[in-house]
Amino acid sequence: MKYRALVTLAVVLACVLALELACALGWVARTVIIPPSEMVGSLSDILWSGEFNRAILLTLTNVMISVVISIAAGFVLGVAIHASDFLRRAVEPYLASYYAVPTFIFYPVFIVLFGVNSAAIIAIAVLLSIVAMITATMNGLDRIPTVLLRTARIMRLSPVKTALMIQLPAAAPYFFTGARLSVAYSFIGVIASEFILSGDGLGYAIAYAYNNFENRQMYGLMLLIVIAVTLVNMTLDRLDRRLQSRLRR
């Protein structure tokens, strides 16, 4: 387990080194990609100067709000859809094809609804991430072994107690998987919207740097996002695995 993680790390490092070398030898043009060492330098400049602190904070806040909304609403919707056979049959065909439609193009609609501020961005991110939570919630509830519900009946638990003491913990690992995906999609939603649509946040900062040929800054910011997402993802992944292993029978 540990060993494998080390090998993975080594592979990543080897790729980075190869890129560094390719840049140093001039195999790739500096206008295309800058050496990783410079990306790191740029990143540390960005962090030290505090120039982007506001953008970073804004983006993180938006991601967090989106995560909270999509997890909470996704859970409630998932439970509701699970409870009704009709709703379920109604929703399933759409869930399957949901991601094919680029939510971004409805941005003008959202700014009409929510105004030109973070709310519209958050709405897009929520739209993107809530589906993962709904699906995971339904999946989790589906997979509660019926024998556990029968056991609850034998113990004469009330429906509320059954929900809290049996259904919730039994499906919790699946809920967590959904929550984890929601976090990933919230990141994607917020940063992509900023990149494409807004005049603010980290996504915009990258787009701006790109437009103004500030490759150094652009790659510094990209590195920041890659590192942040990787860290968050790895942490949640580890928790996720731990939870899932409990279910393994």
Partner: protein
């Protein structure tokens, strides 16, 4: 005071005494979703479970054994006829009944200890009493070293013992077991059977055991009910006449072979009949 002492009531009664549970003309039909067709799964069944007896049920797969257990546990109402427990008609799950299901029903998010204590906590019993009962049951089921383990860390047989312990601590007066050792190999089953007998002797509860294993049925029970293929009916109910301090060593007894032979004779025709129709099974 131990669980045993608390649970113990009078010794097994003669047939004249009121039965622990009783089924009269019970049938069960399943309705298929959509179509109006129904499946006649069980009955009509007439059966009295005597106070404190060990009754086992064998029958071909799909003959309605689990359905019978559902009716007794109050999990599903009979389509026809009446079911009663301790003289009162069964509507909903009655108090005093414990069930161990065929599938592993241990809660994977709780430790062994917490699993066993789960029902007691719900019943609002004091902590000291809970501790005592859990302690006893965990020890009795040979799980003492695994109190803090989670089910995922146990073998299938140990998880099934957790479920038995969880049922046991509630001191049910009627214990229903649906093929509880299905996941185990035969040798381990026989040993678990010994533990079950010991348990039964100590608690004096009435036990109904559903099993696929003829040895198990013949070795453990006071009476063995042999069911026909679906719709399940009792085609024979055999009194074993074993002493109550029996254990798995009686498999070596020649009378034991005779007994299984007799049950097998009854079942053979039924199973053959059943196998010809089992192609496109319901699951």
């Amino acid at each position: 005071m131990t669980v045993v002492a608390m649970a113990s009531r009078d010794a097994p009664k003669a047939a004249a005494e009121p039965p622990a549970a009783s089924l009269k003309g019970v049938t069960r039909h399943y309705r298929f979703p959509g179509g109006g067709k129904t499946l006649h799964a069980l009955g009509p069944i007439d059966l009295d479970l005597r106070q404190g007896e060990f009754f086992s049920v064998v029958g071909p797969s799909g003959c309605g054994k689990s359905t019978l257990l559902d009716v007794l546990a109050g999990l599903s109402p009979p389509s026809d006829g009446t079911a009663s427990f301790e003289g009162k008609p069964i509507a909903g799950v009655p108090d005093g009944i414990g069930v161990v299901f065929q599938e592993d029903a241990s809660f994977p998010w709780l430790t062994v200890e917490a699993n066993v204590a789960f029902g007691l906590k719900r019943a609002g019993i004091g902590q000291a009493e809970i501790d005592r009962r859990v302690d006893y049951a965990v020890g009795f089921m040979g799980l003492r070293d695994f109190r803090q383990s989670y089910p995922a860390q146990l073998s299938g047989g140990m998880r099934q013992r957790v479920c038995i312990a969880r049922t046991l601590v509630l001191q049910p007066r009627l214990i229903l077991l649906d093929e509880p050792f299905g996941a185990l190999d035969q040798q381990t089953r026989l040993i678990m059977g010994d533990e079950l007998l010991r348990l039964w002797r100590e608690t004096k509860a009435t036990v109904l055991l559903i099993t696929h294993s003829l040895d198990e049925a013949a070795m453990l029970a006071d009476r063995v009910g042999v069911m026909s293929a679906r719709p399940g009916l009792f085609i024979d109910i055999i009194e074993t006449g074993w002493p109550s301090d029996r254990d798995s060593r009686i498999v070596a007894d020649p009378r034991f072979g005779e007994m299984t032979g007799r049950i097998w004779e009854k079942l053979r025709a039924e199973t053959m009949k059943h196998m010809q129709t089992q192609g496109a099974g319901p699951r």
